[in-house]
Subunit: 281 residues, 4 copies
């Protein structure tokens, strides 16, 4: 599918501040960036496409004067995510995992999986394999956690959400990741532009490592799983923040869009029966 994505971000910034942006679409064999522009208010020093350890494309901005900073990103992207069946899957062999997958078994700032072992195993441990476990926990989050704008903040973590049971996409993703890791299933945070998300915004969901693939899950059920343009992955929102702010910076506004350029789009909504999943490579 071909998408056009746009992000406009505005901040009020005092001098000597920095922003690390993480809003550029990934550019991989399976997600080709056809064209893109990143425009920033004049006079801001900009270093583009620093590659993070996770392979994300960061841009660092150095702002030397007080100003209203205006950031405009737009890109056209060909996205070839894959829909795949997980009918018969091999057991995870931890001793054979690559080290860059192992890291996604560790607890992280917003995904304290070490505190959820008993809970996760009591609830989902009986399921027959990892696909069923992740499907079941994603469904449980969907049923039990209320999607409530403003109910959480930048400090809210999976440990909070598992009891408070309210949050936004970021919190849904963190809880999904924490439960996966507590079940010894590697899982990571995923951000992107999302087609048909209403109201339009950046979106967060999560990937679980199943049968050698990073399979996408979204406990919010707000979007078709195959309608995303991938920006970043990381352990959690600490790694994959859209913008990391250093200095005296106030958020003013943002406007995000993700439009389909192709004629046709066949939405793939997760279906607990089908055992099929979507992979973004």
């Amino acid at each position: 599918m071909k998408f056009e994505v746009k992000a406009n971000l505005q901040y009020q910034v005092k001098n000597n501040s920095s922003i690390i942006l993480n809003i550029s679409a990934l550019n991989t064999p399976h997600q080709k960036v056809i064209s893109e522009t990143l425009e920033v208010t004049k006079g801001v020093h900009q270093k583009e496409f620093l590659s993070s350890p996770e392979g994300n494309r960061l841009t660092s901005l150095e702002i030397l004067n007080d100003q209203n900073l205006n950031i405009n990103y737009s890109a056209q992207v060909n996205q070839y995510c894959e829909i795949k069946g997980y009918d018969r899957i091999k057991d995870l062999n931890i001793a054979k995992l690559p080290a860059n997958v192992l890291t996604y078994l560790n607890p992280s700032r917003y995904c304290q999986s070490d505190k959820l072992y008993r809970l996760a195993n009591n609830m989902f441990g009986y399921k027959k394999d990892d696909f069923d476990k992740v499907s079941a926990l994603t469904h449980w989050i969907y049923l039990n956690v209320a999607y409530l704008s403003g109910s959480t903040d930048a400090e809210t973590s999976a440990y909070d959400t598992v009891t408070e049971q309210a949050g936004v996409c970021r919190d849904f993703a963190h809880l999904g990741i924490a439960l996966c890791r507590a079940l010894t299933i590697p899982a990571r945070y995923f951000t992107g532009y999302a087609y048909q998300l209403s109201p339009p915004d950046f979106h967060a969901c999560f990937e679980a490592y199943i049968d050698g693939d990073w399979v996408l899950f979204d406990a919010t059920r707000l979007i078709p799983l195959n309608g995303m343009v991938k920006i970043a992955t990381g352990r959690d929102a600490a790694d994959a923040a859209v913008a990391s702010l250093f200095g005296d910076i106030n958020f003013i506004s943002s406007k995000i869009s993700c439009e389909l350029i192709d004629q046709k789009f066949e939405p793939f909504n997760q279906d607990d029966q089908s055992r099929r999943g979507v992979i973004y490579l």
Copy 2:
């Protein structure tokens, strides 16, 4: 300096378990592993020196039968850490940091720096530069946090320690890291074999990124700063655990040692006046 380090670890393990070990000395131009052996009970499948994203040397063990697992690591290492003065240091320019340093500004599982901004800035923000800030916070931890074996567990984090004010080396390191990051100073967890540590054990301290160097700090003051053989770095103990256990595994015992082979050793204990620090490359 030339050191001989040894670790003996014993576990009671049920079949189909895995262990990811992180006890091998790093091998770099400034820390040369002269010789090393890793012996594990026969029949355990062993994959050596998987390199983690942080450059640590992991060993994965796959244990297929019930057994008492016996692990023996020993190495001779030439360690050339550097003692350097930080009298005049350049300000940190975030926009110019490499992406693999930026990551150490993020909060992590055990170092929730995002919750400590006001506290850290109220306490240490007035200090004149980053070296003074890190010295001051390390000194404050030394004075206020009681070193108490058994007072904390694997879930204890900097957010706990900053108020409960008791812990072990791991907790001292986590609190140091969290306070640094809250002051916008990149900081990471550091594990190693420690000369003159009593009782002998693995040791944890932390590195702060000052003037382009990763400078070692140890708020426990239990060892000379230049007497370590480096094993690993990471965001916190979640990244750099000595052993990550998967399956039905019980710890039996450990025995660690770090002996000096050279004739002479001149201990460098941190001295708040001198503005000198130790770098492990």
Copy 3:
């Protein structure tokens, strides 16, 4: 039923310390203390049977010299708890509750019910009345929380236990109370001597306010519900600690017993079908 209860407590105490004991059996029309003695090492100043706001019988000890403090309490008690059916119960009318019941709807140190509203209502809100709700949550705790000595400490609260799912009687009681209050059912902490508890110790469970009665529930299922000699009630363990220590005091040992003096005892174990409960007046 007639019981004989005994408690021996030993502490190592430095001078100028105080202990507030809460180990005396309540003396009410429905629990008659036939005889009792409280013996404390000579020279300790002792003020007996201070009545707490909750009606508990406290003893304050003032220790002026360093010593091994030895405390011996024993009592014979006639206990007339009532077993009652709750087949048809009236709805709780909050506006008509006495103020000393209202207080048990509030969150407390170890029972942060304000954080569990959604969770409690998602899990148990659909049950038809308050008796069913409390039965169901007590049963859920029994099934999901592992009884593990040493897994928790004096700071552990219901907010921890609901996710960590391990603890001792105190933690089981706190979680029961927090879930009740989150469902707008008044609930309070209950301590006592427990017949047939193995190993013998003080025991904690909880009372829920149902149809105008304080009905006893015990999610540990370790004892018959009608085999207790009541010591105290309170919001949680903060109100009803067996001993509150002020000064330099170390616990040495305790020995508790609760023997039946009567010939016969018909144990009443909670049975989710019967809708019967036990009341201690």
Copy 4:
């Protein structure tokens, strides 16, 4: 001094809800209610002046129909608080404390003093007596905690505020109480109407038990200490909430006032040198 206090509260309420109000001025020998009225929208069943275990004057409202509920309280009150010197004070003798004071040494929902022992003693333990300790901790809160509307919510506790260092009057009071109790000084929450508070609102501060008196402290420094009309005391905001809501109830607005009727008023602002305090009996 003679004050006129007024509170107007408006809620949108669905049928079958209840509200427990705690907005009536206390009526004691030292705070005489000269006249008062409480008017509530017609048809609401109202039970006035239920006395809480702490002696507060509660009003329960039972709302049977959907409505916009309008509550108007007004009172004229003669307030005779006492300003007293604490130059030479006797040490606290815990063993001689009445049981209804002992309870204010316990940790509570929002004042987890059990987690702050080392911190409180490291920071304030060296001060010469209880008055100096409470003065010092109140001053520390004033200097370090930012008064920021909207920075906290109904779940925020002293354990959060001691590190996050931002909050409103309720959070300042909770932190003061927790630090006092951690220093073995009984302390309780205090709510009232406050003269010269800007913007006008209910106010919360705390009382510490010093030399047999409950002495008022206010770490916000927003008001003169002798300008309050006392509503309630309790362990923390869980005991002394202005309004406890049960059912489907949304807050619409509130308007509070506290006017001086007397000609003259000599403000008493706490002064760390004078060792004088204000007592509300």
